[in-house]
Amino acid sequence: MSATTAAGPGPLQRHGKIGLVPVRYGAGLVGGAEIVLAEMARGLQQRGWDVEILTTCALDHYTWRNELPAGARDEDGLTVRRFPVVVDDIPEHGTLEHSIMSGAKVPIQAQQRWMNSGMRTPELYHHIVDHAEDYRALIFSPYPSWVTFACSQISPSRSVLWTCLHDEPYAYLDLFSPVFTGVAGLLFQTAPEHELAHRIIDPLAPHAEVGCGVGVPQDYDPDGFRARHGIDGPFLLYAGRREGGKGWEELLSNFAGALGRSDLEFSLVTMGRGPVNPPAAVAGRVVDLGFLDDAERDNAFAAASAYIQPSRYEAFSRTIMEAWLANTPVIANGACDVVAWHCERSGAGLTYDDGFEFEACLSFLAEAPDAAAALAAPGRGYVLSNYTWDGVLDRVESALAGWTRAPQVAVAP
């Protein structure tokens, strides 16, 4: 399939197949990198690219259980090739993971043992070994997955990374140096992510800041959302994976601390996946709605008093954009450079550095709701100006055109 457009300095030749390689793919997944690659795949296909998804049979990134059948099939108009996951229960993995996360110096041999002692997909690997030449580009994400680490090195000149780089211990492992230095290109979502990459890795592979696309809802139904879920009173919203790496436990702790010290009427509404486990003192104030479809998710953003982003490891944070599109202010962990950067640039969010600042933010929401609404107001414009899919796909296409070669097309004599 081929097509031509005027994106970039010259006409873009949409020749060749693009393989997007998310670790998981399917409806109902919670995970930024996976969702973005899925949306990018559909966007690129709509623009005329020949697109394929290469992924695993797993949906749960804790168990890596093979839930879906292996093989190629059409899923909503996209070709999806699934490959089984192999998980070896090697005790050393946990020990090494702990060493890495605690910042200990882990020898490269041990880093390699760590990487190979968790989930693997040998059949996907060998599919790329066998068929790399069939693709113009293979887009991997996120960087610290076995799939990206192993498969991006098979044909580096075709490999492009949607990096999702965070300032986390993994980023400093020698193990990933080839991934960042030797591939065809790196797609960054924000300036802080770009700067972080320069701080950690030298020299970087060709790279570009392309942003990240966010869908813009047509309308919102906050009252209907409240009625359907029986939610009265003001609430704070958290959407995403409920796990330590995303700051969920810290959010619960800060929420309980704030309610313990101040008489705040907020409840905390959460949607997504993972155990909730609220402290006993606030158990009655934490509401888990499970996984919501896109429309109801957007309604939740519109109904909330504020969206809380407690994660310190965000390469972009789609959820804060979804909050701003719904004119909802954002309260975010100041430890995350990217989110703090968004809050400062947009002027539509506050950051906190500990539980007391978190409490002060909630106090502001409770006591000055008009000012909180005014705070949120510039957020929607910020998202529409910078992060719609149209603009992002223009930049992605331009980067791909520069970094990868179109397949040779036989010309008729």
């Binding site: 486990n277 006993a280 007391f356 600042e357």
Partner: protein, 478 residues
């Protein structure tokens, strides 16, 4: 009866010393001839360095020479075992104590703390410890939980382990009534007064009481925190300093440092309306028992042996047990006749905020300013005292942000959706808390000290810059 009491003893500032003093008084009132031997210089009749095998053998020699009818030992491992200690140290000490106990006619040991790990029968030190404990005629602990754990850990028949009420020997130390006690401390008669009293240590959690109290000062209540650090180690001092700063920044909270005699201790109890024990961990509490002597209501966290002590007190004592900060706050506010609420807090200065062109910067700055006041570092105290201006405080706060973003270490809640898993988690917590909680406390104290240091340096720089800008050397007004 001729009795030897081996114990730390006043004027040593020590809870066990105070406990022993009450016991000695009680025994002497019963007509016994009580001799006190303490591990350091004190008001005791004798003192001996009891640490190590030499200490144990010196104790044996003393017991043999004294021909006592009964030897009572107030036991804490630090009195006898070197710190840190190895297996051979523990083996030697247990053997020495075994010798000391065997020469006595009758030995009773009141256990205040012990390391349950060192009773394994297969290890030489464990076997020696078991022999040593079996040679004791009567072992006393303060809670049922301690009794069962002790029996299991050291192979001692449960029948040999007695449960003694912490306050069984307690007598009143003051003759003051509420009015005169308040007058002596300058506490207004009409002020509803909470009291947290005792050594200032992280695990006592007095900072929790201050935060729970925050806002009640505006309603005429007060919280008096009486006591100072037990040991001047860096962790304790850092915690004490942070508590001082938090108290200084919180309206209605008063800190009283320095030595507190037994009489003053009781006088404070008499002066108070409610005693607050916001402990993070504790074996058992003498304060709770002493509060009962004066019929003072108690709000206490349900940790360690407090739950059991409260259950034993039953309806005889007004005790409210709370499980976390939210309940602590609610209980204190309920006692003070109010509802914990935002109404007591200063409202946001947001009259025209909604129209502000730089709204985010102003609100963010106010968030930082408020948190500085609430956090309880010296910086908050300095801002409250007007010696540091808000801009300097904000800059200092930014300097400490990287450390503050690393939240205080907390042991994960022993909860689970499955009751069996929750049970196992609670069990593991009980077995390991004594070892983990001090480590958590030390790490958090280190974090707090680092925050203090970063903020102090940044504030000093800010003041220096201000003084350079102002030839008169005035600090900018707050």
């Amino acid at each position: 009866m001729k009795i030897l009491m081996v114990t730390p003893y006043p004027p040593a500032r020590d809870g066990i010393a105070a406990y022993a003093a009450q016991a000695v008084r009680s025994l002497r009132r019963d007509g016994h001839q009580v001799t006190v031997l303490s591990p350091g210089p004190s008001a005791a009749h004798h003192h001996l360095d009891l640490v190590g095998p030499r200490g144990a053998l010196a104790l044996a020699k003393h017991i043999r020479a004294g021909r006592y009818d009964r030897v009572i030992v107030q036991f804490h491992p630090d009195f006898f075992y070197p710190v840190p200690n190895r297996m051979r140290d523990r083996l030697a000490v247990a053997t020495g104590l075994l010798a000391a106990f065997r020469v006595a006619s009758r030995v009773e040991v009141i256990v205040h703390e012990i390391d349950y790990r060192f009773g394994r029968p297969t290890a030489p030190d464990g076997a020696a410890a078991r022999l040593m404990w079996r040679s004791v005629d009567r072992i006393a602990v303060h809670t049922e939980a301690e009794r069962s754990r002790f029996a299991k850990a050291f192979g001692v028949p449960a029948t040999k382990i007695a449960l003694v009420e912490h306050g069984s020997d307690f007598a009143r130390n003051t003759h003051f009534d509420r009015e005169s006690a308040r007058a002596s401390f300058g506490v207004p008669l009409d002020a509803f007064t909470f009291l947290s009293i005792g050594f200032v240590q992280y695990h006592k959690g007095f900072d929790r009481a201050v935060r729970a109290f925050s806002g009640l000062g505006a309603r005429g209540a007060r919280l008096d925190i009486v006591g100072s650090a037990r040991v001047d180690d860096p962790g304790n001092l850092a915690y004490s300093n942070s508590l001082d700063a938090l108290a200084a920044a919180t309206d209605g909270v008063f800190r009283h440092r320095g030595f507190v005699s037994d009489e003053q201790f009781d006088r404070w109890l008499v002066a108070s309306d409610v005693v607050v024990l916001p402990y993070r961990s504790i074996w058992s509490s003498g304060v709770l028992e002493r509060a009962a002597l004066y019929d003072r209501p108690v709000i206490a966290t349900a940790v360690g042996g407090l739950q059991e002590q409260a259950a034993r007190a039953g309806r005889a004592q007004d005790i409210t047990l709370v499980v976390d900060d939210a309940e602590l706050r609610a209980a204190m506010w309920a006692r003070a006749g109010g509802r914990s609420g935002a109404t007591a807090r200063a409202s946001w200065r947001v009259g025209s905020l909604a129209d502000d062109a730089d709204l985010r910067a102003r609100v963010q700055s106010e968030v930082v300013r408020r948190a500085v006041g609430a956090r309880g570092t010296r910086l908050g105290g300095a801002v409250a005292a007007g010696t540091v201006d808000p801009d300097t405080a904000a800059a200092a706060s930014r300097a400490s942000a990287p450390v503050r973003r690393v939240a205080n270490l907390e042991l994960p809640a022993p909860t689970s959706g499955r009751s069996s898993a929750a049970f196992v988690k609670r069990l593991v917590r009980r077995l390991t808390a004594w070892e983990l909680e001090p480590v958590v406390g030390e790490i958090n104290a280190l974090r707090a000290a680092t925050v203090e240091a970063l903020e102090s340096v940044a504030a000093a720089r800010g003041r220096g810059a201000a003084e350079r800008d102002d030839p008169a050397g005035r600090v900018p007004p707050s």
